[in-house]
């Protein structure tokens, strides 16, 4: 990603620059998705990316491939099947005992070797802690361009990847391209794209590639993996109902009103970026471009103004309900249902009304 402040003028001398792609890079074909598969579980973002990458591959008239690195051949074979059923034509696999846990050295080598051997034109990764750790190393090793946290991917008229992301703390969007290097790399956060439909029985080709790395050659050792006891970290992104608060709540105490409503609804709660900076919520509860992207059925935003940084994180919600005292708040530009009211008064009333309604329903059933 280009450094935001220096990217300022849209009339930048760089904009529109197009040199001829070197002969060497012209042989790079096909769209790839790195399949994040840890401890036998495919991260949903990888499948979401396959869905979006399928469209890019079709537009380019090329194949879509997944790349799976791991240590367990059976788990990798099962994961490959899942990839085929979510749109992949090919799956490249690297199976080696050193890939049992994610480690930068081994995964970077595996990934760059496969790229250098089979030469994809586009390589997408999920913007998870793993994906970002890996993407930066791979792009630097390959000396190619990498766009972080893209919120939209497209193929332009000349066949290049156009990756769009918010910039300047989320006041504007910018489209970034890697015209003269391959592969064109981008990361995308979980839930920016929806889950593609699964096509049971869809099959593809598996191509295995060796790693050629001995455990003794790897300096970093995983001593332990402690799974989160509070697994809310990942639940927020995948929750059906999310209730969130912003600075309009005015105090950390009032944020409890958000939690109370979430509790009645069996929902996850979160907040806008300033709340993390103020210490009202922890960073894993932040919703927006630099926090979690969510796609719930119902999203209730209380006292959130709706800056672009927040907007791109919630736009995938089916129904957005916004409560704000300012009738001109930006959030009313993209919410479906707006209520010009003080969230501090309305939230407890909503909590109580939902509670009543649900207990009536419970008695009836």
């Amino acid at each position: 990603m280009t450094d935001a402040p220096k990217a300022a003028p849209a009339t930048n001398s760089r904009a529109g620059t197009k040199k001829e792609l070197s002969e060497h890079f012209k042989t790079y074909k096909h769209v790839w998705v790195f399949i994040e598969c840890e401890y036998g579980v495919i991260h949903p973002v990888s499948l979401e990316l396959l869905g979006e990458a399928r469209k890019l591959a079709d537009k380019r008239g090329v194949s879509l491939a997944g790349v799976i690195l791991g240590s367990d051949a059976n788990l990798i074979a099962a994961a490959a099947t899942v990839c085929f059923e979510h749109g992949a034509d090919l799956v490249y696999t690297v199976t080696d005992p050193t890939l049992a846990h994610y480690r930068n050295e081994a995964f970077t080598k595996g990934m760059t070797d496969v790229v250098n051997t089979y030469k994809p034109e586009i390589l997408l990764l999920g913007a998870t802690t793993l994906g970002r750790d890996l993407a930066g190393s791979v792009a630097t090793t390959l000396l190619t361009g990498l766009t972080a946290d893209s919120t939209a991917l497209a193929i332009d008229d000349e066949g290049s990847l156009a990756a769009t992301r918010p910039t300047f703390g989320g006041s504007l969007l910018c489209t970034i391209m890697t015209l003269n290097y391959r592969p064109q790399m981008a990361t995308v956060r979980p839930r920016v794209f929806g889950m593609p439909p699964r096509e049971p029985g869809r099959r593809g080709e598996i191509i295995a590639h060796p790693l050629n790395l001995a455990e003794d050659d790897i300096v970093t050792k995983v001593l332990q993996f402690v799974a989160d006891r509070d697994s809310n970290q990942s639940q927020l992104a995948y929750a059906d109902i999310v209730v969130a608060g912003g600075l309009g709540l005015r105090s950390a105490e009032n944020f409890e009103l958000v939690k109370a409503l979430a509790s009645v609804l069996g929902a996850e709660y979160g907040g806008s970026r300033p709340l993390v900076q103020k210490g009202w919520i922890t960073a894993d509860r932040q919703i927006g471009q630099t926090g979690k992207t969510i796609r719930p059925k119902l999203y209730i935003a209380a006292g959130i103004s709706g800056a672009i940084q927040h907007r791109v994180g919630v736009e995938g919600a089916d129904t957005i309900v916004a409560i704000n005292t300012d009738p001109n708040a930006q959030i009313f530009e993209f919410a479906h249902l707006g209520i010009v009211a003080d969230a501090i008064k309305l939230l407890p009333a909503l909590t109580e009304a939902f509670r009543k309604r649900l207990s009536v329903n419970r008695l009836a059933s």
Partner: protein
């Protein structure tokens, strides 16, 4: 032990305004700050120094005015500051930035001692890429530890470090050898208030200032625009959605009545939410 902290001076992004007509950034008078994520890295570096001795050097690349952030870091308690500034660096993307910083780190090693640990913040608040840290590590061949929540052990005799790293769905405890590059997670410590003594020292301290040549960079094609594979094709404001929010009438309604009206609207738009909720409450 020598520790280097890479930090960046960034606009206080909350205060950036976009010109409503031209869609350009109005940067006049926007205050700058040290990237907040970098402060966790700086504090961790100083904490280690206080524990085992040594020096903390802060390094930044930016325009001459980035000196302000370096002086601020000296006020907090850093021992030395290096400013990398040259018009050849203008327009650097993350690949070109990591090249310039890695070159400066090599030069710092020659001049002031090879660092055992290079720290960066998790990411910046303006670029938000989290790519420069891994880029530096790869270029210098440092062992890379990202999203570090805690340094568990540092054994200088054995040249060994153990850290807790925030991973997806859990915490990885990793052991590796020095030298390392660590990107520090936010919220893991609290930046100290600088002493009066360090404030005096910072005010008069000499900032080591290098241009590309002084940092030992000979290949300028790897710097700035030329060294950046990514191209900003366009910058634009998002298109407003065709339909604005349907406003629930609030006139004179008490919160209770308004809440009922809102719930009725939600259920009529999203009937499945109602059935989901009924199922959820029945299971309680």
């Amino acid at each position: 032990m020598h520790i280097v902290v890479c930090l960046k001076q960034v606009p206080d992004s909350a205060q950036i305004r976009v010109h409503p007509v031209t869609n350009t950034i109005m940067r006049q008078g926007v205050p700058t700050i040290i990237n907040p994520y970098d402060l966790f890295a700086l504090e961790e570096a100083m904490r280690l120094r206080d524990l085992i001795g040594g020096e903390v050097t802060v390094l930044t690349m930016g325009p001459p005015m980035a000196e302000d952030s370096l002086r601020k870091a000296l006020t907090f308690g850093a021992d030395r500051a290096v400013l990398l500034t040259d018009r050849f660096f203008a327009g650097s993307d993350t690949l070109a930035t990591s090249f310039a910083l890695a070159s400066a780190l090599t030069k710092i090693g020659q001049e002031f001692g090879v660092p055992s640990i290079v720290f960066t913040g998790k990411q910046t608040i303006d670029g938000d890429t989290a790519q420069v840290g891994p880029g530096i590590a790869k270029r210098l061949g440092l062992n890379q530890l990202t999203y570090v929540a805690r340094i568990v052990e540092l054994d200088r005799d054995a040249n060994k470090i153990i850290v807790e790293r925030r991973a997806e769905g859990g915490v990885q405890v990793l052991e590796t050898r020095l030298p390392v590059l660590i990107t520090m997670l936010e919220g893991v410590n609290e930046i100290r208030r600088g002493s009066l003594e360090s404030a005096y020292r910072a005010a008069s301290a000499k900032i080591v200032t290098w241009n590309a040549a002084a940092a030992g960079i000979t290949d300028l094609t790897k710097c700035g625009l030329k060294g950046s594979p990514t191209i900003v094709k366009k910058v634009f404001a998002p298109t407003p959605r065709a339909e604005k929010a349907h406003q629930v009438p609030t006139d004179g309604l008490a919160p209770e009545a308004l809440a009922d009206a809102v719930i009725a609207e939600i259920f009529s738009r999203q009937p499945s939410v109602e059935s989901d909720l009924v199922r959820f409450s029945a299971g309680q």
